[in-house]
Symmetry: C2
Subunit: 333 residues, 2 copies
Amino acid sequence: MNKKPLPGEFELIARYLAPLATACPGAFGLADDAAVLDVSPDRRLVVTVDAMAAGTHFLRDDPADLVARKLLRVNLSDLAAMGAAPLAYLTTLALDGEADAAWLEAFAAGLAADQAQFGLALAGGDTIRTDGPTVLTITALGTVAGPSPLRRNGARPGDLVYVSGTIGDGALGLAALKGELDQLDDGARTQLAERYRLPQPRLALGQALVGVASAAIDVSDGLVADLTHICAASDVAAEIETARVPLSTAAQQALAGQPDLLERVLSGGDDYELLFTVPPDAEGEATEAAATAGVEIAAIGRVTASDPELDKVRVTGPDGDIIALESAGYEHF
Amino acid sequence: MNKKPLPGEFELIARYLAPLATACPGAFGLADDAAVLDVSPDRRLVVTVDAMAAGTHFLRDDPADLVARKLLRVNLSDLAAMGAAPLAYLTTLALDGEADAAWLEAFAAGLAADQAQFGLALAGGDTIRTDGPTVLTITALGTVAGPSPLRRNGARPGDLVYVSGTIGDGALGLAALKGELDQLDDGARTQLAERYRLPQPRLALGQALVGVASAAIDVSDGLVADLTHICAASDVAAEIETARVPLSTAAQQALAGQPDLLERVLSGGDDYELLFTVPPDAEGEATEAAATAGVEIAAIGRVTASDPELDKVRVTGPDGDIIALESAGYEHF
């Protein structure tokens, strides 16, 4: 296949990146030294950054538009977990020789589609060459209303544990892409792979949960690992029941044929759903927040007092027995 | 040499990065999904990002603390060019197999030294593995007072063109490190190499120039290229005189022995001085701003009306003749 080489720095910015910045007046067409943004006096700035390397976090053959959208959405999911609304983003592209004009065009098209969908725009960036695999980063900026963003540290014994959407699709999608789930029908495999490739950041739900949820996190390391993060930050423990963990029809099909995938569902990462705790007297508000956001939520367990003799997160099966998990979750490094 | 391997993700954050975040309460010890920062209602947010790849922008043998400090300072220089004061920064580290615990410890020590010096702290980040050369990024956040940050687009015919500090040391320092300036004495070579490795972001000067300078940029692509950027954004042209371009004693020594290095001085990048324009009636205020910031500034030329028949930036030598430059400046991609 003929490769169309990338143009020089200024032409590259003008052609592929500046169009992404037109909706951000403070980006000055990417033609100044930095971007200038306004944060409303009644809101606080929220900022997060994520990096992905070719060969480690995505494959060279992955469609570049999906790579871009996943990187942006992973960041938006972090904003969602704080209850923030998106404001703008910056990107760095350290491009290797594999990245040609067609790759960058598709990458920019992915960003264009998602920034329109999620209501933010490019505020700045840097594009460099690297000898090695391409490394991409996005810094996402958002704002949160009021003095109290969603945090991990507010869960209290007696609170209910909720998740949004369905759990396990990310990990099963990765397994499907690796050819591990051949017993599934094509539709289910595609559905799971899509969930892995294109997470849905729960921005509306996160914002609606500010002042309602006592703690929140997005499920990126895995359900059990991320609940453990909440428990550690809040100095509490938690119990969840596998029977109450919401599963997609595709995940149900996968588990019916191969019950030992349950471990993958509970410990795998990349779901990017919100996992949050709610005081018992705020259950109604949580239901209302979910309805406002148009997202399903499910109560899967309860926060308990911290007990040094027990695991921070205990998972019980349908028979009430505690399930021992081999892996606590995914470490991204 | 024995390598001490890097620990896992959470241990790595706790040991090397979380200590850099203690001065940033909204970083929550790097233990939440994102950082939450407050921007004063009377200030605007300024944000910029830069990336560096091993083998391209720094050498594997470069001291890691200097690599860290240069990356941070390059970002701070962008903030300075907008007239912003530093607020916080985020970093992504895509580390290859060469980066061991000693490397990361030195890298973190470099950040610790500079964040104390420049008054900001780590607010977040991401650390990943890459098969290829290490790629590092820093996103810097700052705030600027009042409605009008320094921009590139406000230069008007008749304005004076100023630079801070001395010009050309960055490019000559790189040449010295490559062994090209063997005729220089050791002291001069070291002085130039230090300037290349450890730029001085002109933060105090930038802030003092808000409301005084009509346009500003930091000298990263090269004096002539960066003045061309101001001229393009402002739709003007400019004339500068080589005799008025401030040179360090080391650069003077280099030029005395090898006059053709003048081209390198005018076109080389990496000085990270401020280049700015000042209306004639604000000369006194500019002098005062420089005195407040404790930085030398020098008037090196004048802004003229745009003329499509002439170069945007004309450089005249001591005899008044226009000097033709082979290279307009450095493209960082």
